[in-house]
C-alpha cells in the first residue's frame, strides 16, 4: 500500500508547481503510477464584496508523486490562474459564485466552493447612483447619465437648514473636476467669489460640443457622510443673464452653444466632476490668463489668472477622509439596454474596507502637458493615444468607420454606430503612461438607432465615432469597478492621477 500524500496548495503556488511538474500522469523514474484522489477548494475572505477579491486555494490529495496543480474556474466574476477570485458586480442583496478547482493531472477530479457575494453596504462614503429618465420635466429621455443626490449649503451651515439645499439628478462625471449647478435650480444664495481686485470671478468651461458660463461661488458640499467645506463651485447662467458671455468663451464649431442655460439644456440639475484633477483648470490658469477664468467688473469681463485655491475644485479632494479618488461600481446592463440601472459612487481608494483596489489594473496618465489625463488604447494593432474613461460620456466613442474593423455609422444618425452583425464583439488593450498594459478589454456594440428607439435609459452597447481616439463612456462602467485617482493625493497601486478597472 502506497502512502497517501496530502498537499495543501495556495493558489499562488500552483503555477510554479504546474510549470515544474510537466503535467504527466505518472512520475518517479521507477514507473510508479500516481493518482489524484480528491480536490477541495476554499476562498478567503468569504463572503466577498461585489467587485472585490478573495484568494482561493485548493487541497489536492493523491497517491505517489502526484501533481498538486489545479486549474481554476468560476461561475461568476473572474478567477486568475493563481486562484484570485474577482467577485461579480451586484448592487443589491447577495449572490453566489461557484469556484471550481480541477486537477491538472486528472481532470475528472475537482472540488468546488460556493462563495457568497454581497453588495456594497450603505456607509458614510457610499452614494447610490441611478441611471434613469433624468430630472423632473426633462423634455426628452436621458441616455446613459449616472445621477447622485447631494446637499449644498451656504458655507458654515449644515443640513437640515434653510441655508442648505438638496439637489437630485446631479451627473457624476469622471471626465471633469468640480461642481457646477444650473442657476435656476438654486434656492439658496451661495456667496460669489471675487478675484484679487475684488471683482466678481466668472468662468467659461468648454466641453467637446459646447460650453457653460457663469460665476464662481462658494459652497459647503455634503454627499452622504462626507463633507467638503468652502468649495469653489460654478453657477451656470443663461446667455441672457449678466454678465454676458465674453467673445473668448467660444462655442466649438458645430457645438450646442451654452449648455448651462437650463436643466433641459444641461440634462441634469448639476454636475459633480470627480475626475483626475484637484481643480478644473490647474496650473494652466495661474499664468498667461487663458480664456477660462474671467474678472468681471461692471465694465466687462476679461481673462484673468486665478490661484489654485480659488479655482473650482474637485469636491472629493476637499473631503477630510476618503479624498484620494472614487470608485464607480455600476450593475451590469444586458444587451438591448434596461429601463434604469443603479450602482454606487464610493469615495476613497483603499481608505475603507469597501473601496479596495483589488484586482483592478492601474493606468496612470500624465498630470500636465498636452496629454494630461489621457492614456493609450491599442485596437487592431494600432495605438491611439487620446483615451479617457468618462462617466459623463453616454456611449463607447471610438475611431471612425473609415478605420478598419469599426462598425459603420448609422445611415440616419452619423453620431451612432449601427453594426451589420449585432452585437459586434470587439476587444482592445489599454496602456497607461507607466507602460503597463492591461488584459484584453471586451466591449460590444449594437445598432444605436434601434437602442435609442426604446424607452430604455441605460445601455451597455451604445457606440459612436470619435475619430482617432477612444472615449470609454458610461457603457464601459456597467458590470465592473472603475477607479479614478486624484493627482497629488496619494493612492494605492500607482502614482495618481490614474484610472483603474477590473473585469474583462
Amino acid at each position: 500500500m502506497r502512502s497517501l500524500g496530502i498537499l495543501l496548495v495556495l493558489g499562488s503556488l500552483v503555477l510554479m508547481t504546474a510549470c515544474g511538474g510537466g503535467g504527466g500522469s505518472s512520475s518517479g523514474g521507477g514507473g510508479n503510477t500516481s493518482t489524484i484522489t480528491s480536490v477541495a477548494a476554499s476562498c478567503a475572505p468569504s463572503p466577498v464584496q461585489s467587485g472585490q477579491t478573495s484568494q482561493c486555494s485548493a487541497t489536492v490529495m493523491g497517491t505517489g508523486n502526484f501533481s498538486s496543480a489545479v486549474t481554476w474556474a468560476t461561475s461568476a466574476g473572474q478567477i486568475s490562474a493563481s486562484g484570485l477570485l474577482t467577485a461579480p458586480i451586484i448592487v443589491s442583496g447577495s449572490t453566489s459564485a461557484t469556484v471550481t478547482a480541477t486537477s491538472a493531472q486528472d481532470s475528472t477530479k475537482s472540488g468546488t466552493s460556493t462563495e457568497t457575494v454581497t453588495a456594497i453596504a450603505a456607509a458614510n462614503n457610499v452614494a447610490p447612483i441611478i441611471v434613469d429618465a433624468g430630472p423632473q420635466n426633462l423634455s426628452y429621455l436621458s441616455t446613459n447619465v449616472p445621477f447622485v443626490t447631494i446637499t449644498i449649503c451656504v458655507p458654515g451651515n449644515a443640513p437640515p437648514s434653510a441655508e442648505c439645499q438638496t439637489i437630485d439628478h446631479v451627473t457624476v462625471d469622471t471626465g471633469s473636476s468640480g461642481l457646477r449647478i444650473v442657476s435656476s435650480v438654486l434656492t439658496i444664495a451661495l456667496p460669489p467669489e471675487n478675484d484679487s481686485n475684488g471683482n466678481p470671478l466668472d468662468e467659461c468651461l468648454v466641453f467637446a460640443d459646447g460650453y457653460v458660463w457663469g460665476p464662481v461661488a462658494t459652497a459647503d458640499i455634503y454627499v452622504v457622510g462626507e463633507k467638503a467645506p468652502n468649495v469653489p463651485v460654478q453657477v451656470m447662467i443663461p446667455t441672457t443673464t449678466s454678465p454676458p458671455v465674453p467673445s473668448g468663451c467660444q462655442n466649438p464649431p458645430g457645438g450646442n452653444g451654452n449648455e448651462g442655460v437650463s436643466v433641459d439644456a444641461f440634462g441634469a440639475n448639476a454636475l459633480i466632476g470627480v475626475g483626475l484633477f484637484q481643480q478644473d483648470c490647474g496650473p494652466g490658469c495661474t499664468s498667461g490668463a487663458p480664456n477660462f477664468y474671467y474678472s468681471c467688473p461692471a465694465s466687462g469681463c476679461n481673462p484673468t489668472n486665478v490661484p489654485l485655491l480659488q479655482q473650482v475644485a474637485n469636491p472629493v479632494s476637499k473631503f477630510s477622509t476618503d479624498n484620494n479618488g472614487v470608485l464607480l461600481q455600476m450593475a451590469s446592463v444586458p444587451d438591448g439596454g434596461s429601463l434604469t440601472a443603479s450602482g454606487f459612487l464610493v469615495f476613497g481608494i483603499g481608505t475603507e474596507s469597501n473601496n479596495a483596489l483589488g484586482s483592478s489594473v492601474v493606468y496612470t496618465v500624465p498630470d500636465t502637458g498636452n496629454n494630461a489625463g489621457v492614456f493609450n488604447t491599442i485596437f487592431n494593432g494600432t495605438n491611439y493615444s487620446g483615451s479617457v474613461i468618462d462617466s459623463g460620456t453616454s456611449a463607447f466613442l471610438f475611431l471612425s468607420s473609415a478605420t478598419s474593423g469599426v462598425p459603420p455609422t448609422c445611415t440616419s444618425d452619423n453620431y451612432l454606430y449601427c453594426p451589420t452583425t449585432s452585437p459586434d464583439n470587439l476587444t482592445a488593450v489599454n496602456q497607461g503612461s507607466n507602460g503597463q498594459s492591461g488584459p484584453t478589454t471586451h466591449f460590444s456594440i449594437e445598432n444605436g438607432v434601434n437602442l435609442l428607439n426604446t424607452s430604455n435609459t441605460a445601455f451597455s452597447t451604445l457606440g459612436g465615432p470619435n475619430p482617432g481616439a477612444f472615449d470609454w463612456g458610461l457603457p464601459f462602467f456597467f458590470g465592473r469597478d472603475v477607479f479614478t485617482a486624484i493627482e497629488n493625493m496619494g493612492a494605492p497601486g500607482g502614482t495618481p492621477p490614474y484610472f483603474a478597472y477590473n473585469l474583462p
Binding site: Y140, L141, S142, T143, G175, S176, S177, V206, F207, A208, D209, G248, Q250, P252, P253, G254, G255, G267, G273, G275, L276, F277, D280, C281, G282, G284, G288, P290, N291, F292, G369, N370, N371, A372, G373, V374, S385, G386, V388, D390, G392, T393, S394, A395, L397, S400, A402, S412, D413, N414, Y415, L452, N453, G464, P465, N466, P467, G468, A469, D471
Partner: protein, 156 residues
C-alpha cells in the same frame, strides 16, 4: 507629443510677419496665426505638403498643412485649451454650425440628447473635435484641397 512624418527637411522659422491663416486660405496666413497666438513656429517640409506647427503661449499646439499649391488644406490642434477656432477655421466655422443645425432638424424625430465629440463628415468639410478636462484635440480639412498621396490621418 509632436509627430513628425518624413522629416526630410526641418526649417525653423521665427519670423513674426503678419498675414491671415485660415483653413482654405493661402500659406501666408500661417504667420498671422503665429503672431496672434504669440506662438513659436516650426515648419516641416515632407515634399507632399508643408506642416507649420505653432505652439501658443498656453501650450496649445496648432498644425497647419499647406499643399504645394500654397493652400492651407488642413489644420489640427491639441492642448489644454482649444485654440480660437473661429479664426483658425474662418468661413468653415460657420459652415460647421450650419451642418449641425440641419442635422439636428433631421434628428428631431429622435427624442434624445447626446454629449460627445463633434463629428462632421461632408464632401466640403471634415471636422472632428473631442475634449475633456485639460485635453482638447481636433482636426479639420477640406477634402478637395488635400494633395494626392496625403492621408486624412496625416492631418493630426
Amino acid at each position: 507629443m509632436p509627430c513628425i512624418r518624413n522629416p526630410f527637411a526641418i526649417l525653423i522659422l521665427l519670423l513674426p510677419f503678419p498675414a491671415s491663416a485660415v483653413l482654405g486660405d493661402t500659406a501666408a496666413s500661417v504667420l498671422d496665426d503665429q503672431a496672434r497666438m504669440k506662438g513659436t513656429l516650426r515648419s516641416v517640409d515632407n515634399r507632399t505638403y508643408v506642416m507649420h506647427e505653432i505652439t501658443s503661449s498656453t501650450g496649445t499646439v496648432v498644425r497647419e498643412f499647406v499643399s504645394p499649391q500654397g493652400a492651407v488644406f488642413g489644420v489640427a490642434w491639441e492642448g489644454q485649451f482649444p485654440p480660437d477656432l473661429q479664426q483658425l477655421l474662418g468661413p468653415y466655422y460657420e459652415q460647421a454650425q450650419q451642418v449641425q443645425a440641419s442635422a439636428q432638424q433631421t434628428d428631431s424625430q429622435q427624442p434624445r440628447r447626446r454629449r460627445g465629440p463633434i463629428v462632421i463628415d461632408t464632401p466640403g468639410l471634415v471636422l472632428y473635435e473631442t475634449g475633456h478636462a485639460r485635453n482638447f484635440r481636433g482636426q479639420a480639412y477640406i477634402p478637395q484641397l488635400v494633395p494626392q498621396g496625403v492621408q486624412a490621418t496625416d492631418i493630426h
